[in-house]
C-alpha cells in the first residue's frame, strides 16, 4: 500500500486517489486524523494479519451464528414459559370436560331410571336430546379431548414441542391458532413475547437472507465463469461509479459508512442531505466484489418452489391422512406466514412420540424456510425494482428522471 502511494501518486486520477485515500482511512489506522503512531510491531507482520483475520472471523461468527442462537434460545425460553403457564389451566379444562360428561351420564341415568317400562322410541328421544346437548358442549370446548378416564397424567396439548411450535408461530407471525393461550397470564405473556420477538426474528431473517444471498450470488458467478453459458449481467460498474463521485465530498463518518462492508450490509434507503453546499447520496450495498452479477428471477423462484414442493413431499410421507395437495397447501400457507392452523403436523396423532418429532421437524422446516425466502427476495430485488420502474415509466405514472 505504501509504495502505491509513493510511486503511482501522480499517475492516478483524482477520483482514484480519493478512493484509495478513503480506503486507507478505514483499514490503516495510521492515516486517521489525530493518530499518534505507537512504538510497536510492524502492522504488516503476520501477527497483525492473524489478529485481523481472527477479529473478522469472530465478528462474522458473532454476527450470523449468534443471531441464530439468540433466536432459538428465545424460542426455547418462551416454550418453557408457556408450558408452565398453560399446563395448569389445561388440567382445569380437562376437569370441566369431565364434569360435563358426568352430568350427562347422570341425566341419562335419571331418564333410564324413571321409565318403569323401557319403550325404545320414547327412551331414544329423550336420550338423543341429551347426547345432542353433550355434543354441542364438546364443540364449545373446541374438541378438547382428555386422554383417559379423567386422569390428565400426561402434559396434554402443551407439551414442550407444541409450545416450541407455538412460540415460533408467534414470532414469525404465522399464528396457527390450533393451540392458543387461555389463561390471562398466557395472553399477556403472548403480547409481550410477540412485541420483543418479532423484531428479533426480522433481524435474523434479514441477516440470514443477506448472507445466503451473497453466498448464492458468489456461487452463481463462479458457476457462470466456469461453464461460460451466459455472461452475468453487470450492474456493479454503474453503481460503483456513482459511489466514487459521491465520495468526493463529505467528511468523517459518511466515509466509514460507505466502505465496502462485508456480506452483512443491507440496502439502506437513499438518504439525501445537503451539507455545506455539496450534496451526495449515501447508498449502502452488499459487498461489492460479489455484486457484479444479478441472479435471474427464474432461478430464485425455482429455489422457492422446490423448497415448498420438497416440504410437501416430506409432510405427505410423514402425516398419514395428508395428500400432496394438503402438503403443498400447508407449506405454502405456513411459509407465507398466513398460517390458518387447520392443517398442522401432529395435530391428529394421539401417541406422544410421533407428535414430538413431527413438531420439531416442522419448526426446523419453518425456520430454514423463512431464511430461504428472504434470500430469494433479496436476489430478486434489483430486477423486480428495475422492471417495475420500467413498467411505471411505460404507463406514464412516473415521470422519467424522477425516482
Amino acid at each position: 500500500m505504501s509504495e502505491n502511494r509513493g510511486h503511482h501518486h501522480r499517475s492516478m486520477s483524482m477520483r482514484d486517489r480519493d478512493h484509495h485515500h478513503v480506503i486507507h482511512h478505514h483499514r490503516d489506522p495510521r492515516l486517521r486524523r489525530g493518530y499518534i503512531p505507537p512504538a510497536g510491531p510492524d502492522p504488516d507482520s503476520w501477527f497483525y494479519k492473524l489478529k485481523e483475520f481472527a477479529r473478522k472471523l469472530i465478528a462474522f461468527l458473532f454476527g450470523h451464528v449468534g443471531i441464530c442462537g439468540l433466536v432459538v434460545g428465545y424460542i426455547i425460553m418462551g416454550a418453557f414459559a408457556f408450558m408452565a403457564i398453560e399446563s395448569e389451566d389445561q388440567k382445569r379444562q380437562y376437569e370441566d370436560v369431565v364434569r360435563v360428561r358426568e352430568a350427562t351420564i347422570q341425566n341419562l341415568w335419571n331418564i333410564t331410571h324413571q321409565l318403569n317400562v323401557l319403550y325404545p322410541s320414547e327412551w331414544n328421544e329423550s336420550v338423543s336430546i341429551q347426547v345432542q346437548l353433550f355434543q354441542q358442549k364438546i364443540v364449545q370446548f373446541n374438541g378438547e379431548a382428555d386422554p383417559g378416564g379423567g386422569d390428565a397424567g400426561t402434559t396434554g396439548a402443551w407439551s414442550f414441542s407444541a409450545s416450541f411450535l407455538y412460540c415460533l408461530t408467534v414470532i414469525t407471525t404465522i399464528g396457527y391458532g390450533n393451540i392458543a393461550p387461555r389463561t390471562v397470564m398466557g395472553k399477556m405473556v403472548t403480547i409481550v413475547y410477540a412485541m420483543v420477538g418479532m423484531p428479533l426474528f426480522l433481524l435474523y431473517v434479514s441477516n440470514m437472507g443477506d448472507f445466503l444471498a451473497t453466498c448464492f450470488r458468489w456461487g452463481y458467478v463462479n458457476l457462470c465463469k466456469c461453464t461460460c453459458f451466459s455472461r452475468p449481467v453487470h450492474h456493479g460498474a454503474q453503481r460503483g461509479a456513482r459511489r466514487r463521485i459521491s465520495q468526493r465530498s463529505g467528511p468523517g463518518r459518511q466515509d466509514l459508512m460507505q466502505q465496502q462492508q462485508q456480506p452483512y450490509d443491507t440496502v439502506a434507503s437513499i438518504h439525501q442531505r445537503r451539507i455545506g453546499g455539496a450534496d451526495y447520496d449515501i447508498e449502502l450495498q452488499p459487498g461489492a466484489p460479489y455484486d457484479t452479477a444479478t441472479v435471474p428471477i427464474t432461478i430464485s423462484l425455482t429455489v422457492m418452489v422446490s423448497y415448498m414442493v420438497g416440504g410437501a413431499v416430506l409432510f405427505q410421507q410423514w402425516e398419514t391422512d395428508w395428500d400432496y395437495l394438503d402438503g403443498s397447501y400447508f407449506c405454502f400457507i405456513s411459509l407465507s406466514t398466513t398460517g390458518f392452523g387447520d392443517l398442522v403436523p401432529g395435530d391428529k396423532i394421539n401417541s406422544s412420540s410421533g407428535v414430538e418429532l413431527s413438531l420439531i421437524f416442522c419448526s426446523m422446516y419453518l425456520i430454514i424456510g423463512m431464511a430461504l425466502i428472504a434470500m430469494c427476495f433479496n436476489l430478486m430485488q434489483e430486477e423486480v425494482i428495475a422492471k417495475v420502474r420500467k413498467l411505471g415509466q411505460l404507463l406514464g405514472c412516473i415521470k422519467a428522471g424522477e425516482e
Partner: protein
Amino acid sequence: MALDRKRSVRDRGSVRSRGSSSASSSDPREKLKDCCRQFVAFMFTQVGVGALVVSYAIMGAFAFMAIEGESENSDNNDHVARLRSACLSRLWNVTDHLNVLEERKWKLDVRQVLLDHQQAMALAIKGGYDGRTNQERWTFPSALMFSLSVFTMIGFGHLVPRTQWGKIATMLYAVFGIPVYVLYFMNMGQVLASCFKWFYCKLVRCADARKDKPLADGDPAAGNGNKEMIGVVSSAAGDELSDDLDEESYSGLIIVPSTACLWVWLTYLAVGTIMFAEWENWEYLDACYFCVTSLCKIGMGDFVPGANIQASSNQTKLIINFVYLLVGMGIIAMCYNLMKEEILVRLQELKADLIERLQDVSGRMRR
C-alpha cells in the same frame, strides 16, 4: 409564495429531478399543469391502490362463497350424524342387555360409550365440524374476512377452505394478492407518513407561534431552503443535521420524534380494544390480545369478532373489523416509514462505532 419557493429550491437542490424540472418551475402556467399532473398521479396511485385492494377482497369473497359455500354439506355433518346414531344404538344396547339396572355397572358402560363418542367428535371438529352447514358458514362478510386474512397474511383460521378446489384457489389468490397488498402497504405508509409530518409540522408551528418563539422566516434563500426542504425529518436525521447547520436555520427545524409514531399506534390499539370489548362483550385483555395479534399479522383465530356460532346475525361487525384491520395496517406502514430512517441510521452508527472501538482496542494492544 412559500410553496413555490420550496418546490423550486427542492427542484434545484435535489438529485432526483436534476436538470429536468428546474426550467419548468419558473413559469406559473407550467407550475399549474405540473400541479394538476401530480394530483392526477396521486389519485391514480394512492386511491387507485386502495380501491384495488378493496375490490380484490370483494372479488375473492364472491369466489370463495361460490367455491366453498355451494359445495355439498360435506361428509363431516353426515359423519357426525352417523356417529350420534351409533352412540345412541350403543347406549340402547347397554341398557337393554342388563336385566337388572344396576347403577354403577350401567354408568361405567355408558361412560365408556360417551368417551368414545367424545373422542370421535374431537376428530370431526378438527376436521371442521362446528354444527353449521356450508351455506351458514360462508356468508358474504365471513368470506370477506377470509379473503382479507389470506392476502394480508394474517390467517385467522376460524374459517378455512375444505374442498380441493378451495385450497388451490386459496393458494392462487394469495400469490396474486400478496403483491397487491404489499403495494398498498407501501403506498399507505408514504401517504400517512407525509400527512402525519404535515400535521405535526402545523401543530408545532401553532404552538411556537403562540409561545412567540422567533422562527427563521426571513432568511436568505439558502438558509430558508435548508429549513423548508428538510423541514420535517425524523429525529435521528435531525440530530445529525443539527451538528452541521448553523443556529439560525436550526431553530426553524421541526423534528418528528419516533415516539410520536408509537403513541399513534398505542392510541389506535386502545381504540380498537375498547371498541371490541364493548361490542363483543369480551374482557379488555381479550380485546387487547385480539388487536395486537391481528395487527401484528399473527392471527390466532381464537377470537374473531362476529364469528361466534350463536351470534350469526352480527354480520356488520365483520365489516367493521375489516375496515379496522386495513386502516391498522396502514398505520403500521406509516410507523415503519417514519422510523425506518432512524433505525437504519442508528444501526449504521452502531456498526461504525463498534468498528472504531475494535480498532482502538487493537491499536492499544499493539503498543
